[in-house]
């Protein structure tokens, strides 16, 4: 198997792609945010439970259909977010987004210690066609945290 392709499909991604964690509805969620990628038809819904008064994320889940990259990305994201404040979560979004949209030849894009397990997605930077797969749930997160409270329209990766 080609090494770039192995970087894209690391075992953690294959595992979470096949058996996504937190793929459940959170009853009484603080935010319910639909997501849609018109390019491939993938869609899903992000659920967030927040502490009152804009506090930390106590629970996160994502239910949807998609490729292994988008499914694994949503799964690992929901695991990572738990306990983060709104600001921390938005900062994580920025770090993640920067990591996978870094120019493919930039060696530094591989090491983002703050992202921990999410660093398995650094290989996506070599596959520009798959960036939208990896960011679908993340765009839902950003929309959920910046427009929380309003009736959300589906967020799109376009």
């Amino acid at each position: 198997m080609n090494s770039d392709l192995r970087d894209l499909y690391q075992d953690v991604i294959l595992d979470h792609g096949k058996r996504p964690r937190n793929a459940r509805v959170i009853e009484g969620a603080s935010v319910v945010q639909p997501a849609y990628n018109p390019l491939c038809g993938d869609k899903g819904t992000l659920y967030l439970a927040l502490e009152p008064n804009g506090g930390a994320i106590t629970d996160a889940s994502y239910v949807g259909q998609g490729c292994s990259i988008s499914t694994a990305s949503a799964s690992l994201m929901t695991e990572f977010l738990r306990g983060q404040s709104r600001e921390e979560a938005l900062h994580t979004f920025d770090l993640f987004h920067d990591m996978i949209t870094a120019p493919p030849d930039e060696a530094s894009h591989r090491a983002v210690p703050e992202l921990g397990k999410l660093s398995v997605f650094s290989g996506v930077a070599e596959f520009p066609a798959r960036v939208k797969c990896a960011t679908l749930a993340w765009h839902a997160l950003k929309a959920a945290l910046t427009e929380a409270g309003a009736t959300p329209a589906p967020v799109s990766t376009e």
Binding site: L39, G41, T71
Partner: protein
């Protein structure tokens, strides 16, 4: 023209010699990710033979000037070469006259033109436009826009589990309010060949006031088309799926209909005379062709038609049919693979899904094997919805496709299955 006669000589009278054909396409020697290119995406766009590339280049090198405008020699030569393509297209599809051929940017623009001219002039509130469940977005959205403007209704004839239009339902949806019936000759997503002549006969019988538009984008590259035998009123197609340049295409319409239609865009070339008080429009087809066209692209389109004619549409159809049967058998043998679109009359498209594997994951791995296929909804979301799928993997064939291409696809699919096992 020498290249065409070489091609003619190269083609045995009874079959397509695919290795000779492949030598006509320079891109087929390209490497992708260090692997030889296996191009199975001709339904999205076909590759170009050297003589089409040369034809376009030669226009700029030897005869380029604006058309229909100058008395100088270059303009006359460019105009003659440009207008000659109308005749080639007319002969290619059995049209009555070159004047029935309108040059446009492609199938999408042709459908929009008919919607915005014939449609706006003839469709009124309460009227109906009938399409089928096989259509791609280009044959849905222009009609939705017209319906929304005219308060008319879009009706859709359903397809069955094989991807075949339900002709009883189609007939049942025709009536005195039906003004336009529009459907594909061949489905881009599934490969279904519609029985156009039968459908046209049903329209004439049950809705004689309606006009029939056939989207031929996936038809003309794969089979001999005779618009008179098909019995439609408009037939449209794109050069880029016929081994010609992108951004170029044509609309055929019955002369009387085109003559009665209002012009579309205004500008130069579509007029006979202009004063600030009054403009007299040019005749058919020029009244639909405002502005300076893609001159070199049109002339190269003519070269693509010469190429297809030299290969012979019957030879192409026979070779592609044989290869489709081979591909169908090879793919069907793969565990967990389900073909989507199993119409008895099918051409050049193998659309499928792999159990438990998303098409985009498969597409990335196939790409690394050098195999170019399309993954996604193929600009035909309602077709995907009909089968309850977000997307499929689509391998599509062209004149240069071989059994080796299919074998490479099958090997690639096995790699996909290994990875996601």
């Amino acid at each position: 023209m020498s290249a065409v006669s070489e091609v003619t000589n190269a083609v045995a009278s009874r079959s397509l010699e695919v290795n000779r054909v492949r030598a006509d396409f320079p891109i087929l020697t390209a490497q992708v990710h260090g692997k030889p290119l296996v191009y199975l995406d001709s339904a999205a766009s076909a590759q170009k033979p050297q003589l089409v590339i040369d034809a376009e280049r030669r226009v700029y090198e030897e005869m380029y000037a604006n058309v229909h405008r100058g008395v100088h020699d270059l303009s006359m030569r460019a105009s003659d070469a440009y207008e000659a393509v109308r005749g080639k297209i007319a002969r290619f599809i059995g049209a009555g006259s070159p004047k029935e051929i309108v040059f446009l940017r492609g199938t999408t623009e042709a459908i929009n033109l008919v919607a915005q001219t014939w449609g706006r002039a003839n469709v009124t509130a309460g009227d109906e436009i009938l399409i089928t469940g096989l259509e791609h977005h280009a044959n849905i959205v222009p009609w939705q826009m017209l319906c929304s403007e005219k308060k008319s209704a879009l009706r859709v004839a359903p397809i069955d589990d094989r991807g075949v239009v339900d002709l009883d339902a189609f007939a049942g949806l025709l009536g005195e309010r039906t003004k336009i019936v529009a459907f594909a000759h061949v489905s881009n997503a599934l490969g279904t060949v519609n029985d156009v002549a039968r459908m046209a006969a049903l329209v004439r019988e049950r809705a004689p006031q309606a006009v029939i538009l056939v989207d031929g984008a996936q038809g003309v590259p794969h089979m001999k088309v005779d618009v008179k035998a098909l019995g439609c009123d408009f037939y449209c197609f794109s050069a880029h799926k016929m081994y010609g340049p992108s951004g170029m295409g044509a609309l055929w319409g019955r002369k009387a209909l085109l003559d009665a239609m209002p012009p579309w865009q205004g500008g130069g070339d579509m007029i006979l005379s202009v004063t600030f008080e009054k403009t007299v429009y040019n005749e058919t087809p020029f009244k639909f062709e405002a502005g300076t066209p893609d001159i070199a692209g049109t002339i190269a389109f003519g070269a693509a038609i010469d190429y297809l004619t030299a290969l012979g549409l019957d030879n192409i159809a026979a070779a592609e049919h044989e290869l489709l049967a081979y591909g169908t058998a090879q793919l069907s043998a793969i565990p967990g693979l389900r073909l989507i679109g199993t119409a008895p009359d099918k051409t050049s498209v193998l659309s499928f899904v792999l159990e438990g594997i998303h098409p985009h994951d498969a597409g990335s791995i196939l790409d690394y094997e050098g195999v170019a296929v399309r993954t996604g909804h193929h600009c035909a979301q309602p077709v995907m919805d009909r089968f309850g799928l977000p997307a499929t993997i689509r391998a599509s064939l062209g004149v240069y496709s071989t059994r080796e291409d299919i074998d490479a696809l099958v090997r690639g699919i096995h790699k996909v299955r290994e990875m996601f096992a």
